[in-house]
Assembly symmetry: C2
Homo-oligomer: 351 residues x 2
Amino acid sequence: MGHREQVSAALTAFLDERAVDLAPLGDDAARLLEEVRAGVDGGKRFRALFCAWGYRAVEPEPIDPQALARAGAALEMLHASALVHDDLMDGSDTRRGRPATHRGFEARHRAEGWPGDTSRAEQYGAAAAILAGDLMLSWSDQLLRTCGLPWERVGPALAVFDDCRTEVVAGQFLDVSVQARGRADVDTAMTVLRYKSAKYSVERPLHVGAALAGAGPAVLDALTAFGLPVGEAFQLRDDLLGVYGDPAVTGKPAGDDLVEGKRTVLVALALEHAPAADAAVLDAALGTPLSVAEVARLREIVTASGAQARVESLIEDLTARAMDALAQAPVSDVAREALRDLAVAATQRTV
Amino acid sequence: MGHREQVSAALTAFLDERAVDLAPLGDDAARLLEEVRAGVDGGKRFRALFCAWGYRAVEPEPIDPQALARAGAALEMLHASALVHDDLMDGSDTRRGRPATHRGFEARHRAEGWPGDTSRAEQYGAAAAILAGDLMLSWSDQLLRTCGLPWERVGPALAVFDDCRTEVVAGQFLDVSVQARGRADVDTAMTVLRYKSAKYSVERPLHVGAALAGAGPAVLDALTAFGLPVGEAFQLRDDLLGVYGDPAVTGKPAGDDLVEGKRTVLVALALEHAPAADAAVLDAALGTPLSVAEVARLREIVTASGAQARVESLIEDLTARAMDALAQAPVSDVAREALRDLAVAATQRTV
């Protein structure tokens, strides 16, 4: 069984235990749990993989692979929680090909013919999504704490996990505030990217894994020198896919980030470097419904501004910096090789 | 310094540390933190007090009062998180005399003149409240884990805390689902009350404290035999205050629970025992805007149904059962006395 499958098995085993706890609460709680199961199903499991290789950087052959899988499951649970709350905040309709959590419960309200108008169904869906995310957030640290490794390993990993949770929520709030203001300079967009994504998706998962293996400050610093630029490049790739991605491959609408009005680093660069007339068109179009032709026109503006090329070049620089750091890092050779492959997969992906 | 003040000081000290962590994220994060400070300010601190006396049931003179205050702060942080998310889910405008978190950030959006219509401001307020609650939820277990007591004490307390978080969120979801269906029999209303309030507000705080003092199963069971009926009586008192409470004392509108359409045990009893015509009037009025005269009319229906007397009698029975359990419990005499007073304060209050 590969690590991804072990992580999925750890999630299933954990949720089976929670189903027993929640049985006295009846059908509603059972439905909430089913939604959590769906929420942690699928995904690329990048965070669990970075956690596993952060561990193996220190201890190449884990003495307890199941415990390590459960720690990875903690990061995936945290991520699933963030996605459920994110989709609600963004008003997204779908996630991984199924209705977003709030939409699913909203549909249940309608299907059951419960009293009240559409706004009551929406309110129910929102409440269910808030509570499902809260449950998953609670369960994430529970998973890590009870992963099965001794406390002198788990304690330091939980301290990293604390930072990780604080950073991602604060980063999300900065993002939400930037979107609300309707403007972000490149620096601010970069801060959002660092906290909401780079630290949370790569650096901190590496640290959690390394801490579980008993890593000292030198290893943690080396993993930052590698992980932070990889995480930044990972999210910059996401920014590009959000504008240029092929809907047939990404499963998201064309120009999704433009329709949602996301003030990404890519968009901030385009607004900064495009001719004033182009920048005004782009700025006005962000966050509005867009036809295929309009998306194509905005893509042209972003490309012509040089922002696409700048971001590709940033990804290249960051990846090179990460690879240099990795080459010198005091980590096991098996981890060095795996982390190199993982960095390529995270930054060169098409989905 | 009394225990309440020590808990407040522990919260302040913890949030001062978080302010340092969040400084790189700038003004938006600082505002979020200010909102968290306001959210944990005030309140009756019942949960921290039950935690402290659960501890002192086992160890009458705590060796580390500051650690115990920090553990109590964890429960207060969890509670503040639940209130922020609750107020958003319920669409409440105020909390403890100030705007509810989502309303505060909504007002900020308008005051700053950020782009978009009212719905954009509402969306911003909702997102801010979701994230503020997430931050507080994350910080609650961090506070407990880092309270300063040795791990062999903290580990078992965190296991109780896990159950507590799961129970309260699942109980809230059952509550939300019951409200959405627009009906609840007395049994279902009692299950909601037990999970959302009795276990969460009294039984589990006692257990967290006792576990921190190294309690074994006999003490935990005795604290359940005392704490669960106290918790139920505590919430039944809340149900009565939600219908009969004096706005000048509670700070909430008259008949607040009726306007919000809460399907409490009190309301379920009234609907079950009132004459059909009265029950229909009550059922139709729940969850609609109500004049003072209409609230008075509904109160009469609830009273005439015998539901008020039944709930008062239930509170009396539960309190008597709790006091019997307390008299026989293997706890210190100082805790026995304090817990008796606390039970009276929780169940006989007018606010």
